[in-house]
Symmetry: C2
DNA sequence: CGAATAGTGTCTCTCAGACAATATTGC
DNA sequence: GCAATATTGTCTGAGAGACACTATTCG
C-alpha cells in the first residue's frame, strides 16, 4: 500500500511546479465588532492598485511557507493590532471567481473575526485609512474586489452563529454584564430583545456564562448594579438562542 | 473615489504575476451518500504520485479560467458521473497547510456533495479504483494528503446540517417515503429514531415535504404502503430536527 | 388471522414569549 | 420618593419524547 521511495524521488525530481497554472492566494479578514451599539466591520481605503481609493477588507497575499490561518492572524495583527487570543477567528470560505482581481488569478481565503470594541487602528502600508463602519451603512457597490459578497457571507454567518454558539461573548471584554451581552445580540440581529427573558435564557443555558466572584460593578447613569460574568466552557448552546421573527422559507 | 484609467493601465502593464509566490489550487470533493443504510463516502485509490496507492477524495487542479464551483462540479461529473443538478453541492472550506502536498504549495478548496445512492462509478485517469466506503469504516491514517481532516469536516458538517436544513432530502431520490428519509437521518447520525415522532415531525414542519398526488408505491416485504413525498421549498427547517442525545459541551 | 409497516392520538415535560412584580442603586 | 436598571416569578402555548392505538397491506 505504500509507495517505493525510489519511485517517489524520481517523480518529485522530474516535477515542474510551474507546469501548473499559477494562482495567487490571499487572505481577507472580515473583522466584526460592536461599537456604540452598532454592528460594525473594519474597512481600509486602498492606497494602491487595484481598486485604489476604494474600501476593502484588510488582507494580503499568503507567504510561501505560511499556513492560511497564520496569514490571517498576521494580517489581523499588522493592520488592526488585534491579537489572535483576544478574538474569535474562524475560516469563512474561499472566493476565487476568475477576474475578481484584475492583476492575476487570485483565490482569496476569507476569515471571520469577532473582537470586542477596540481602539482606533492605524493604517498599514498599502492603505490610506482604516475605519470601523456600521454594517448597515456599508454600500456594497463601493467595495473593492468581490468583498461585498465576502462581507455579506460573514455578516450572515455571524448572525446565524449567535443562535447556536456562545461566540457573542467574543464581542465583549473578558468580564461583562448580561445587558452588555444583550446589546451585542441586539446590534448583530438588528432588533430589541426582552431583557427579562434574555437574562433568564443566557443565565440558564449551561456552560454559556459563569458568574464572577465579585459581582458588583458601577452603574453608568443610575440603576441597580449588574452582576459580572465571563464566558463559559460551552462550544454550542443547548437550547439555542432564537432570533425573534426568524421564520425561514 | 475612482482611479484614473491611465494610472491603472500603467500599473497593470508593469505588473509581473510571477513576482508572487506560485500556488497550486485544487478542488477536493467529499461526496456522501447513504447506501444500504450506511453513511458512505466516495474514495479513489490513487494511481500516480504523490500518495500512489493510497485512498483519497476525488479532486484535481483548478484550471486557469475556471470558477472554483465549476471545477468541483467538473471533477464530480468526470470521476463519478454525478450531475450538479442531481445533488446538493456546497463549499466546505480551504485547506492549505504548507507541506500537505509534497509537490508544491497547494491550497485545496473542498466541496461537500450529498447525492442519492448511485450506480458504481468508474475510475478516472489517475485513479486505480473508486469505491463507496462507509464513513465508519474509513481509516483516517490511510488517506492521502490531509484528506482525513477534510473528510472529518465534511462529515461533521453533514451531521449538523441535517438538523436545521432540509438537505437530507438530497440523499433520497426525487420521490421518497418518510421511512426512507428517516433511514437517511439514522445512517448519518448513527442511531435509531422513533418512526412515529419522526413522521409527525417531518410532515409537520412547513416547507420540508410536499405530498405527491399518487401516494401509493409498493411494499417491499409486506406492510401498509407509504405515501410519497418530494422535497419542499424550505431552505431552513423551523423548528429544527434535533439529534437525540445532542448535549453539547 | 398474524406479521409487518404506516400513520394518528395522547400525555408529560421543557421552554419561549409576554409581562407582572420585586430588588437595588443614584438623585 | 422617583427614575432607572437588574433580576425573579408567573402564565400560556408550542413542541419534543415516550408510547398506546389505529390503518392497510401481504401471506
Amino acid at each position: 500500500m505504500t509507495t517505493e521511495p525510489d519511485d517517489e524521488a524520481l517523480f518529485l525530481a522530474s516535477y515542474d511546479p510551474l507546469a501548473f497554472p499559477p494562482f495567487g492566494v490571499t487572505v481577507d479578514v472580515v473583522l466584526l465588532t460592536v461599537r456604540d451599539d452598532r454592528f460594525s466591520v473594519l474597512l481600509v481605503e486602498r492606497d494602491t492598485h487595484p481598486f485604489r481609493g476604494r474600501l476593502a477588507l484588510p488582507g494580503g497575499f499568503v507567504q510561501p511557507d505560511e499556513d492560511l490561518d497564520a496569514a490571517a492572524t498576521r494580517r489581523l495583527a499588522a493592520e488592526t493590532g488585534v491579537r489572535r487570543d483576544a478574538a474569535h477567528v474562524e475560516q469563512l470560505g474561499a472566493f476565487g471567481r476568475p477576474g475578481r482581481d484584475p492583476r492575476m488569478r487570485v483565490v482569496s481565503v476569507s476569515y471571520l473575526v469577532f473582537a470586542p470594541d477596540l481602539p482606533a487602528p492605524v493604517p498599514g502600508r498599502r492603505t490610506r485609512s482604516v475605519a470601523w463602519v456600521p454594517v448597515a451603512d456599508v454600500d456594497p457597490a463601493r467595495l473593492a474586489f468581490d468583498h461585498d459578497q465576502v462581507l455579506a457571507a460573514g455578516v450572515e454567518r455571524a448572525r446565524a452563529k449567535l443562535e447556536y454558539s456562545p461566540v457573542a461573548t467574543a464581542f465583549c471584554r473578558e468580564e461583562f454584564t448580561v445587558a452588555e451581552l444583550r446589546r451585542v445580540y441586539e446590534a448583530v440581529w438588528g432588533g430589541p430583545l426582552d431583557p427579562r427573558n434574555f437574562h433568564r435564557k443566557v443565565t440558564g443555558t449551561p456552560g454559556f456564562l459563569v458568574p464572577v466572584g465579585a459581582p458588583a460593578p458601577v452603574g453608568p447613569e443610575g440603576g441597580r448594579p449588574a452582576a459580572l460574568f465571563r464566558r463559559g466552557s460551552a462550544t454550542l448552546l443547548h437550547p439555542a438562542m432564537l432570533r425573534p421573527d426568524h421564520r425561514p422559507g
